[in-house]
Amino acid sequence: MSAGSVTIRVRRGAPDEPSRIETFTVPYSEGMSVLDAVMWVRGHVDSTLAIRYACINANACKECMVRVDGKTGYACTSRLGADGALIEPLGNKALIRDLVTDIVPPKERLDAHLEEG
């Protein structure tokens, strides 16, 4: 790890793709959140890296729940230490892609309304 940067490991995959861990080096700044690091990767390295988030700072939307070093928490309020972190999707929800899991209430899903016709 070079000075001023930090390494995150992200578990990626989809139901039809094998799970794998990818490593990214991102610029480090004091107090940055796990979401800051993931957003940096999305903006600079790979925009296909999928994660759910809306409010970024406010901790209002509650969409960004992931596992950080095995512990469940909001990506936007979990601080990233200088020695990095392992970021994984929630283990108790169906995986959709990368860090995105199925947290949509059943009645708010498209297929619930397609069936109604």
Partner: protein
């Protein structure tokens, strides 16, 4: 057959969209309420922590005509007074209705508590304790839409285009994010409630979903936009050190209660140099404060991260604790001790005054197409009063829902050929293919920097022309070549690509309108035209021509004067 068929499609489920859905459903319409994020969570509504302006008149005598007078004064001659009057007259009705739905407005002695906010002459801003207005409002409306018969809520459905035939809306197409399925929705009426565009600017208080979709959807459907040159900047947004879990505009109540010294990078007070006073209390108006901070930075006197210092070091700790006890602890968790070092603040893009041009039924010039909430332009003119945005979402949302529902028995304009539209959208998005990875992020960053530097607080002919030229290039030449390769489930890059397309069109409309307004007025400040020109007390109206070019024209303001009612008459 389209995938879905409904009377009213509501695009966006913030305060405006949820209220619209409730109103349309109670008028007997079947509603689809779609949000690209989770219903009730993705936009500005849930993030708002402060207050809601409405002449409820319980705390102190008030009347909506007084609220209107303050709104029109703040709007610097450009308000659509019809819309402003509707906003002010119906705000108390909606606030009471929300009260009956138990949102929990703060009360004292049984009376709804109202506080003063800048620009209001009467304390009329209601709130939910503690700094909980937005979350409480969002939760209440989420419950209402869940209980409303005939409302189909769909989270994770991003609307990308409207379907229009002969000037009449037929429905919309979008993408279901979870499985990448293209979705066609036939509807007798569509309501655009997709919120604002502050994400276009490098520094902002936006969520990920405030990239200007509503404006692009409206333009592409043939509707008009108005007052697009007026984004509102909040002067002392939090800049550094990194602060999470808190509203970036949180320093405002601090400085009201305690004062606070605004200092440049050399630790000198500087507001004096811009004709205002600081001396530890800092009461300068928002636009002057924003301008002064940006000018200090441009002159090389900014704070390390490119803003100004806000210092509370002169205030004893017990006093800080007394005023903001729990917040002081949350700050400590973020490593911030206000008694030891100042924080850095800077102006941030916070709200958009401009938007879709509507009449008093919230109808656009496209038959069956309505708009509501921050997406609408006109009510606030060149500058919005603090606390006017949430009532705007409620009032315009309710109206849009009610009037759109009247179309429920209209025959659908959807044609069988439209069934393939959604699929074509996805094909188009992936058409060029291969534009993987970093390109989209780089383009968005460049756009945000351009908007901030040249279309933000310091505007000149040269900077605006440069920005406009570059944005056009990005929109027509570069974006198409960046279309991402297809992924089936939660295609985040595809979403980014669609978002960016909308953002570029919205950005172009802001830049064009700002270039053409060669004067300074309200939130629009031109360095090369510093005076307000009375001849330009007119609105700019934008439209997309058949060849995809953006055109601007001037229109007379809509005047509808109301005298202030005597206050005894209130209630």
């Amino acid at each position: 057959m389209p995938e879905l068929d409904t009377d009213v499609l509501v695009v966006g489920a913030g305060g405006a969209g949820m209220y619209a859905a409730v109103a349309a459903a109670r008028a007997g319409a079947r509603v689809v309420l779609a949000d690209k994020s989770l219903v009730g969570r993705g936009g500005a509504t849930i993030m708002a922590q402060m207050t809601v302006a409405a002449a409820v008149g319980e705390w102190e005598p008030d009347h909506w005509t007084h609220h209107l007078a303050d709104t029109v004064e703040a709007g610097r001659g450009l308000c659509d007074e019809r819309l402003a009057a509707i906003l002010c007259e119906e705000a108390p009705v909606r606030i009471r209705e929300m009260d009956s739905w138990r949102v929990g407005w703060a009360r004292e002695d049984g009376r709804m508590r109202a506080v003063m906010a800048p620009g209001h002459k009467i304390p009329r801003c209601v709130y939910v304790d503690f700094l909980n207005t937005g979350p409480a409002v969002a939760k209440t409306l989420r419950t209402r839409v869940a209980q409303g018969a005939g409302i189909a809520r769909i989270s994770g459905l991003s609307i990308a285009d409207l379907v229009v035939h002969d000037g009449r809306v037929a429905g919309a197409v979008g993408i279901n994010l979870e499985d990448g399925q293209p979705v066609g929705i036939a509807a007798a009426a569509v309501i655009l409630a997709a919120g604002g565009l502050t994400r276009l600017f490098r520094r902002n208080s936006a969520s990920a979903n405030m990239g200007g979709d509503a404006y692009a959807l409206a333009l592409n459907a043939g509707a008009e936009l108005i007052d697009m040159e007026f984004p509102q900047f909040f002067p002392i947004g939090h800049l550094a050190p990194r602060l999470v879990g808190m509203d970036p505009i949180m320093w405002d109540p601090f400085r009201y209660k305690l004062g606070g010294r605004l200092l440049n990078g050399r630790m000198e007070e500087f507001i004096e140099n811009y004709g205002e006073r600081d001396s530890g209390v800092y009461t300068a108006p928002r636009d002057i404060t924003s301008y002064a901070i940006v000018k200090e930075c441009a002159a090389g006197r900014g704070s390390p991260n490119g803003g100004a210092y806000l210092s509370f070091e002169h205030i004893p700790e017990p006093e800080l604790r007394l005023a903001f006890g729990p917040v002081i602890d949350r700050l400590a968790k973020n490593g911030i001790d206000l008694t030891k070092r100042p924080v850095e603040v800077a102006p941030i893009a916070h709200y958009h005054m401009g938007g879709v041009r509507v009449d008093e039924r919230m109808a656009t010039r496209v038959e069956g197409l309505y708009a509501a909430g921050e997406a609408v332009g006109g009510a606030n003119g060149a500058n919005r009063l603090s606390g006017n945005a949430i009532p705007e979402a409620f009032v315009f949302g309710e109206r849009a829902g009610r009037f759109a529902a009247q179309r429920k028995d209209e025959p659908r304009a959807w044609r069988s050929a439209d069934d393939a539209q959604a699929g074509r959208l996805v094909e188009r998005a992936h058409g060029a293919g291969g534009g993987e990875a970093a390109g989209l992020g780089a383009l968005l960053r460049e756009l945000q920097a351009l908007m901030w530097d040249d279309v933000g607080l310091l505007r000149t002919e040269h900077g605006l022309s440069r920005a406009l030229g570059r944005i056009r290039e990005m929109r027509t030449d570069e974006l198409p070549s960046l279309a991402p390769r297809r992924k089936a489930h939660f295609d985040h890059a595809l979403l980014d690509w669609l978002d960016l397309g909308a953002s570029l069109l919205a950005a172009e409309s802001v830049a064009l309108a700002a270039l053409d307004r060669r004067e300074s007025r309200g939130a629009h400040q031109r360095e090369d035209h510093v005076a307000t020109d009375p001849a330009r007390a007119r609105n700019q109206v934008l439209r997309l021509s058949a060849d995809g070019a953006l055109d601007s024209a001037w229109a007379d303001i809509v005047a509808a004067p109301h005298a202030r009612a005597p206050l005894e008459a209130a209630e």
